[in-house]
């Protein structure tokens, strides 16, 4: 699942947040989601011609 940064306290808003790398560094990713610091990156729907 891909996440985007949603708070300047974490980084640049809109940048991709690498949850797997963060977890490897001991970061509690669920707590970041609960606190609204990262949000799920919505996949763009394919549009048919």
């Amino acid at each position: 699942m891909a996440y985007k940064i949603a708070s300047e306290r974490l980084g640049k808003i809109g940048d991709t947040f690498d949850a797997a790398a963060a977890e490897a560094e001991g970061i509690n990713v669920p707590a970041l989601i609960d606190g609204g610091f990262v949000v799920e990156e919505l996949k763009k729907k394919k549009t048919e011609d």
Partner: protein, 136 residues
């Protein structure tokens, strides 16, 4: 020659969230437990290093606003996280080392600790975990 350290602009990140502008004090305690190894024939007590038993204590202004103190801390209770502290905000160097505590456990948080006429603060103690010092 005596030197002094005056912490005016340290950086504190908790769970990757930069809370430096909410922080008023920070203490990193690096402990290697002493295991006694004194034996017959010794004339003084001797110790050897046991497990690390590290601790970081921070005092933060409480804020219930979006992505502030409460949003950072509340979900960390009963879990482990990583904290990074530096004496100053500049680049990491030999004179501005960074201290990273990984796997630190937060047991207690006081979401409401307020007195009339005073700014509310929370004091948090993160215990355990491995401490690493970096100078580059």
């Amino acid at each position: 020659m005596a030197t002094t350290t005056y912490l005016s602009n340290p950086t504190v990140t908790i769970n990757s969230v930069d809370l430096s502008d909410q922080c008023t004090s920070a203490t990193v305690t690096f402990t290697a437990e002493a295991l006694e190894s004194t034996a017959f024939g010794d004339t003084a007590r001797k110790y050897t290093s046991g497990l690390q038993n590290n601790e970081v204590t921070v005092t933060l202004y409480q804020s219930y606003a979006a992505t502030e103190t409460e949003a950072t801390i509340y979900s960390l209770v009963g879990t482990t996280t990583t904290l990074v502290l530096k004496p100053a905000s500049g680049a990491v160097s030999a004179t501005n080392p960074s201290y990273t505590l990984t796997g630190a456990y937060l047991e207690t948080h006081t979401p409401i600790a307020a007195s009339l006429g005073e700014l509310s603060t929370v004091t948090l103690t993160f215990r355990g975990g491995t401490l690493a010092k970096a100078v580059v």
